[in-house]
């Protein structure tokens, strides 16, 4: 399994792709009714199923969440490897992570198994193929809860059927700034696609990033779900591209000014909050996509988005860092990552 496998096109706008499958074991009650003893048994059974494939076993880490400190857990949330709910839960939980972090399997989250495959750029089919491989492996040893009418049975009926949530994270600065997002959210909703700001409510997304995902899981096959999502994603991308071209043509000076100011701040600031960094990196990404900035690729930019999270900064520089110190380390990290690289 190489990193390149989980990489796709359109990285100027598509930050990442995620495929999630929800699965439950037939012979155990769902999370809210599961005892600690049952949870431990179930975790062991799932470990065993995953370890049947030696090649896979060698790249997976099996982690008991209670063995991790809070900061590490929080840094996993920032990297989208686990959900905030999973991080906060006090139940017996386990996490199975691939060394390259493209696979993460939460055991005993809302469903017994929440299997996620994540890639960079638009790579829905590649991620789905990998998720299906893992599902087949689980299916070989485990009795998965399934019903011919309702599909894979899940704790919450919103996930019945395929249990599949396919999503892409898009960088949509121009649609945001032109106030087109609200309309887009409404249009997408009509055809069963949910659009959400990453850290914001509806129309105000931090760093102008949005998560586009399917709403329905029952009645659509995995392939149909992914194709519909791909279709709407392509449309959103082309709208964003049209607006970028128009902005460059009509207000080139203002556009360039904003991008270069942000780049200058990122390379020189001494104190930087996470939210300021996210906004500046948004401008930088836009600048790269329009050919104003060179010298850094989108993958590096993506990892920076994770690295600047408060917990990630603290994990790397000392867990007892007060917030102001974190802001200093963040500024230093950004200077080191960008200075002497960025070219106009």
């Amino acid at each position: 399994m190489s990193v390149a496998e989980f990489s796709g096109d359109g990285k100027d706008i598509v930050v990442s792709t995620r495929i999630r499958l929800a699965r439950n074991l037939k012979n155990y009650p769902f999370a809210t009714k599961l005892s600690a003893k049952q949870a431990r048994e179930m975790i062991a059974a799932i470990y065993e199923a995953l370890q049947k494939n030696p090649a896979l076993k060698s790249v997976l880490s099996f982690i008991k969440l209670s063995d991790l400190d809070d900061l590490t857990i929080q840094s996993f949330v920032e990297q989208h490897l686990i959900s905030p709910e999973f991080a906060k839960s006090t139940a017996e939980r386990s996490l199975v992570l691939s060394n390259d972090r493209h696979i993460s399997i939460m055991i005993n989250e809302e469903d017994h198994i929440r299997l996620q495959v994540m890639g960079t750029g638009l790579c829905l089919n590649k991620c789905l193929d990998e998720a299906v491989k893992l599902d087949l492996l689980l299916d070989e040893t485990l009795m998965l809860a399934f019903n011919e009418e309702l599909g894979y049975l899940t704790h919450c009926p919103t996930n019945l059927g395929t249990g599949l949530r396919a999503s892409v994270m898009l960088h949509l600065p121009m649609l945001t700034r032109c106030n087109e997002i609200t309309k887009m959210i409404a249009d997408a909703g009509k055809i069963g696609i949910a659009v959400r700001g990453i850290y914001g409510e509806g129309s105000v997304a931090r760093s102008e990033l949005y998560q586009i995902s399917n709403q329905f899981t029952l009645g659509f096959s995995e392939q149909e779900t992914v194709e519909r999502l791909k279709g709407i994603t392509d449309q959103i991308i082309s709208q964003e591209q049209i607006l970028r071209k128009a902005a460059l043509a009509q207000a080139r000076d203002e556009f360039e000014d904003r991008v270069y100011r942000s780049a200058a701040t990122l390379q020189n600031a001494r104190i930087m909050s996470a939210s300021e960094a996210e906004n500046l990196l948004s401008d930088l990404r836009l600048g790269i996509s329009c050919g104003l900035i060179n010298g850094i690729d989108y993958d590096s930019l993506n990892s920076m988005l994770y690295d600047i999270g408060p917990a990630n900064i603290a994990v790397k520089n000392g867990s007892t860092l007060p917030p102001k110190e974190r802001d200093k380390y963040r500024a230093e990290y950004l200077r080191n990552s960008l200075r002497s690289k960025l070219k106009e």
Partner: protein
């Protein structure tokens, strides 16, 4: 008390909300309170929660109990539990409360028949094999591949006889 989200600023706001069907109280700083929603990043419905509680409200008023059954014999969940949490207690609940859950499931998904992958044990069941062969047979006849059609017919016959034993 530090903000539960960023663990950075002083918490100033109490926020009561429904996350994944669960009522929760959170202590947040001003900045995070404004940005609240990040919590739902992974949540099951991606924004469906609002719709969900709306539906559950409707569902409560027209609630009919299945005759003679108040709780799931496997996990002990009741319909009241479901309408409070939006979650069932175990896989068996979907059978026990089938009649009550189906209208609700149809309203969420707009459809109520699974289409997509299935576990191997079900894919290889005689019933599934017969269904698959029957559609193959229809295709072979339509394409006038009579030799193949005859083969499939033999296979079907054997399967159906085996099923009756």
């Amino acid at each position: 008390m530090l903000c539960e989200n960023c663990k950075k600023n002083q918490a100033t706001t109490y926020l009561k909300t429904v996350i994944s069907g669960e009522a929760r109280e959170m202590r947040l700083c001003d900045e995070c309170a404004k940005n609240f929603g990040g919590f739902n990043f992974f949540s099951s419905g991606f924004g469906l929660d609002g719709i969900l509680s709306g539906l559950l409200g409707q569902y409560n008023t027209s609630q009919k109990k299945p005759a003679g059954i108040n709780s799931c014999p496997v996990c002990g969940s009741t319909l009241e539990d479901f309408s409070e949490s939006g979650r069932v207690g175990c896989a068996n609940c979907y059978d026990v409360f089938y009649e009550n859950l189906m209208p609700y499931i149809r309203r969420i998904h707009g459809s109520a028949v699974h289409s997509g992958r299935i576990p191997k044990r079900i894919e290889s069941s005689p019933k599934r094999r017969i269904q698959a062969l029957e559609s193959e047979l229809a295709q072979a006849v339509a394409a006038q591949e009579y030799e193949r059609a005859a083969q499939i017919r033999d296979e079907l016959k054997a399967l159906k006889e085996g099923d009756q034993k």
